[in-house]
Subunit: 209 residues, 8 copies
């Protein structure tokens, strides 16, 4: 089990047959299954043979767990923060991944910088998280504002949402790397899985002690 978790499948560029084979190998060793970037059509091909798999269609995640993740009630939680519907796919990739990896998650999904009061209304609950994952496309400003409000680590996930001078997420990526707030680190454009994984590692460290 790589880094404490069973192998995680990255579905992009793999055929349903290849993915099915990997899933079967994992299950044959009594491991749980977590596969990201599984487009809807691929998922339905795979699920025909493996109806026990659960498909999360917003984040395009396919998973199967022997027993539900035992969440430790006294543990902290991961705040997943974004501005609205356009970034939902990536935000849900973060949230569902973190949950499947056994962490508690709270979603803050309508708190963009252009309507700062909705964010402030949620400030306290975000501040109480162990770690935040902040997802933003376009100008990528949200992690800076959240970073200024909280005293815990912020993982920033730029998305490719936007057009024109957005250059497929470059604008958000550069903005996040240049944040004037401290305590922010960045993963690749649209890399919701990576954002979740980092947050899970931190949340585990904070709660294991």
């Amino acid at each position: 089990k790589r880094q404490g978790f069973p192998e995680i499948i990255y579905g992009e560029g793999k055929s349903p047959e290849q993915i099915t084979a990997i899933i079967e190998a994992i299950k044959s060793q009594d491991n749980d299954v977590l596969a990201t970037r599984i487009a809807k059509e691929k998922a339905s091909v795979i699920c025909e043979q493996h109806p026990e798999l659960i498909y999360y269609d917003v984040p395009e995640i396919l998973s199967w767990k022997q027993k539900p993740a035992r969440v430790n009630e006294s543990d902290g939680y991961i705040a997943v923060v974004c501005a609205g519907t356009s970034d939902l796919k990536v935000a849900e990739e973060v949230a569902v991944t973190a949950e499947l990896l056994g962490r508690k998650v709270r979603r803050f999904y309508d708190v963009g910088v252009a309507g700062i009061h909705r964010l402030l209304d949620n400030a306290e609950e975000i501040q109480n998280a162990t770690v935040s994952v902040v997802i933003a496309g376009m100008e990528g400003a949200l992690p800076s504002v959240v970073g200024g409000l909280v005293a815990h680590p912020v993982i920033a996930v730029p998305t490719s949402v936007g057009y024109g001078a957005n250059f497929q997420g470059l604008s958000a990526l550069l903005a996040m790397l240049n944040s004037c707030a401290s305590g922010i680190s960045v993963v690749n454009i649209d890399n919701g899985f990576g954002g979740a994984y980092n947050a899970v590692l931190i949340d585990q460290l904070a709660n294991k002690a």
Copy 2:
């Protein structure tokens, strides 16, 4: 007088002698003088011969007016908004240019996105302006937040302040062009003069009627 103002001198790449000659030509026609991008050393050479000129050393502006700008007390004002000392040079290029062009200006110079409450404390006074000029380097997030708070036009001025993945102001420029807030338009990196000029045109339109 182009666009209602006397000619404005752009000092970059001109010698003190060239600038002095242009200033003398302007004055000989009973016009006022406004010159930007006049480095301190150049300014002192020029001022030796023309001690009547006033030098603003933060924005590196050199000016002379026959009579002080008559500000109409009932007019609105331009809000000049930035995060702190690093962007001061450009912010003052905006503020001083606008003032010399005869407009009222209010400065909001310590209201960065990483400390959102200082901005909110000033929200009402910024909202009451006719137009805002928002200056920001690094992640360039401030115009989006201001744009969400105000109902008037916002002119965003990216600065080259930053390092690394800032790419000489590219990160702030792209962020501002991709703002999720409506009512924001953008000028060139470090172009404080341009930000002021656009705001002055709008402020005049709003107050002439």
Copy 3:
């Protein structure tokens, strides 16, 4: 109503069902509807259920107003300026948005820089506008020439029209940001909505006083 206008729907990346739901929510609160970036196919799905909506097929805008916009006859107008058929889609996004937001618009649609006399023939009528929105792809030169002719603010909208070293609108965007004319500010590539919105804010300021 954000910034004096009802919510404006951005259709890109939303399904007909999602858009229909938002439209119904808006109408149920007795508000007017304005939705941009609604591809023809989406529009016909939506209009089946809501035949009262009007579809503008060049700019791909969908709208419904309880009563026609009351245009104040004594008000000024917004000049919408472009070079020809290739930029028409974006130019009409500007013009129709501004009209639906209640402003007077005059269109100047065949006045490219390579045939400067057609532009000069229209110079006076453009000069008399309150504000111009200038749309251009390829070398993006038109805002500079218009900016030199008029004394009012110019909003420049680069388009992605072109090929090769155009890099999806980058050439026009950079040209506009570097304009040697004063009084020009820039919005994102293909952002006709943004161009209109800025112009409307300015035109309202100029006419409300």
Copy 4:
């Protein structure tokens, strides 16, 4: 105290006088001083008046603490990992910052990817850290290899060390954002302070419980 620490001064672009003033303000409130990016010449001007300040000349850090950081002996440590002398300046910015912020640090400074065995010889001690900060210029490959070896979070700091197609650190930055190892997040090019700050937040979380 922002985020649990006293204000941290960023010295780039500030004059010795400005920095001295800020330092005095901090000290007058009985706070500790931490200032990064203080070039040697600036530091000696400042230290003439404030000989109590300690200057770290490799990382160009200036600091003063009322009492030495109390390191909790049972706490974990931060691994600071790099390939060699060229990245030393940034690596020391990480290490000294983290130490001044009260954390234990272990340095692994000669473990580049082109001599993989030196890295493997240190693998266990790096694995036992709470969190690693991995600094690399040129091809930026080291975080991927470290990330594969450890099960804790890795903060990757690209440096501008290199020439030609390195493009001032772009090659290392892109490599790190695209790492095939999980659990890696990235800060700005040459941002040793940011790398340290993130690691300190995580190390505190892991040890506070």
Copy 5:
């Protein structure tokens, strides 16, 4: 025969008819056929008329040889090294091309940098090759690690595998050009043929003497 080999066909952008014509011209002069970048559909059209051609479907290569390549048993071999399934298409373009050009090849296809021990387990066999061709996408770190392990020339082939800040292979390309290991040279993104060709030239030189 260009450079000792018969003409090699580059199939991209050529119609099945054009390719068939070139193949027939080559065969009519008693030469062997080697064509790369022949998509599956094209290949089946061509093979209908020329069932004697062999199609390698992973690397999309089409070939025909009068007699099998005589491999000299005492010769050295080319190591073809990559991290896993995503780079397989390019790796096989390298391996199959080299074999068809008459060289011995050993494949090392699961030895990525994030699991360094699998690479080390194969170190000796890679070191014993005459030359290595190392294929990698994403952060492109593998050639640096291999280059540090071996004393022979390494040809690095970046692939476009990845997303976001990968920019279609740019991240891997830049990483490889900036490798801190000596003895590495680089070919174009996805240019498996070029990687093979260079390796074949070197392997021939090493074995002809």
Copy 6:
């Protein structure tokens, strides 16, 4: 004599000694001397030994001709067109080079796009040229306007004049490559010599027949 002209020296990156040696070799073969990019300091070192050389200090050209260029009075002329003082250095590199190569030149040096009427006042004289060389920095719009006015070939020379999103001349270069006017071709940024050379070739063809 390469292409009908004696060798032309490119001074950048050559020492005064190297340049002197080349000049002496050229003169020893009874050829004329033309050297571009000779900074003032270099020129004075060279001229100490060769006081017969003429130095043009705006374009930084050094030259010596056995007899003055015989200009054929009935020949056409090259129009050299630019917007103002900032582009003067490159414009004079064009004009002086063309004159030294024996062609007639007319200068139009204050005809920028932001003041279109000055250009139109000169339109007829520009139209009567055989070929135009149009120099522009910033938004690089001038060649498009000139190209629309004239029926002869236009050589466009982008300059690096500007700042911010100008990216050292990239904005002007891209604009010129994307010109909507026909009959425009482009040389490298700041390449006044290249602009002149192309114009001279065309002017010779037009006048030799």
Copy 7:
């Protein structure tokens, strides 16, 4: 007639109906028709109604001339030079456009830099042209070699042929702008029409005198 020629239609982004309408307008004024970038499918729709139009399917040009272009036998010719089949589409856009505009053309279509002797075999005939248009993708080296061989103007046309670090023609474009040979100017990527148009203007000047 702009610039001595009837209007030339640019077909990209226009519907068959729009193109047909423009063609009919042109013909109704007794003008000849020249339309570029007319994809095969569009052309067949248009030709159903206008079977008199001639379609050139390699360059995708549609044309109709009242009487064949009268080529003046004593005139010079334009050399159209490229490396092979990949650049044929653009090369034929050059050649056919120039012929339809009434000039003589000689094609040199298999003379790439990697087989320099084929180019040298044709050197004399290329040298005897009035002007050359050199088309190249990938490394874009051909114009430099041709420019060194001929004493007449060379118009360089970069193409988007290639992959990977070719970046859609950027590599060829940059190479051509940086050519070490004199007498080369460049048009946009894939702009065969522009290459032809410039050459025609020059060829007319050279032959009219």
Copy 8:
């Protein structure tokens, strides 16, 4: 001794004291010294203490060998090929490094693509080399032409020589990566050492057998 050679010192960014220390450590172990990128001033400081070192001032290399490299007379040679004086520094870094590493070198230093006949005059002697290292700035076309002439491996070294759209060597780098000739691989911009090192490895393989 890594890869058969003693450690090679990279002088950039190291102080004379640091370099001296490394040199003394190397000599104390009876090894030979090879240091590249040692600017003239640094070299003279170092040579004061170590007058036995030999300084090559064109390539800025510092070296000391116990006994002269024994060149095997029957061995092949490395061809070092470039266009002229501007690329000399890098070409000599290649040639001197290769010689100090014990290989035979032939220099071909005036064979640029714009004067193809000088290259052809040397073709046979270049063809007879074991391997070529081809250095070029600006359009970077030379490796393609050489690659077409020879049947052995070509190592291409782009240089940063040029200006404007050269972008510090990017144009030459991209050109070389996109070469249409087979058998070419590329190292970093200005990396003469890397070019030499690869060639030496190949030349050793070819001659050891």
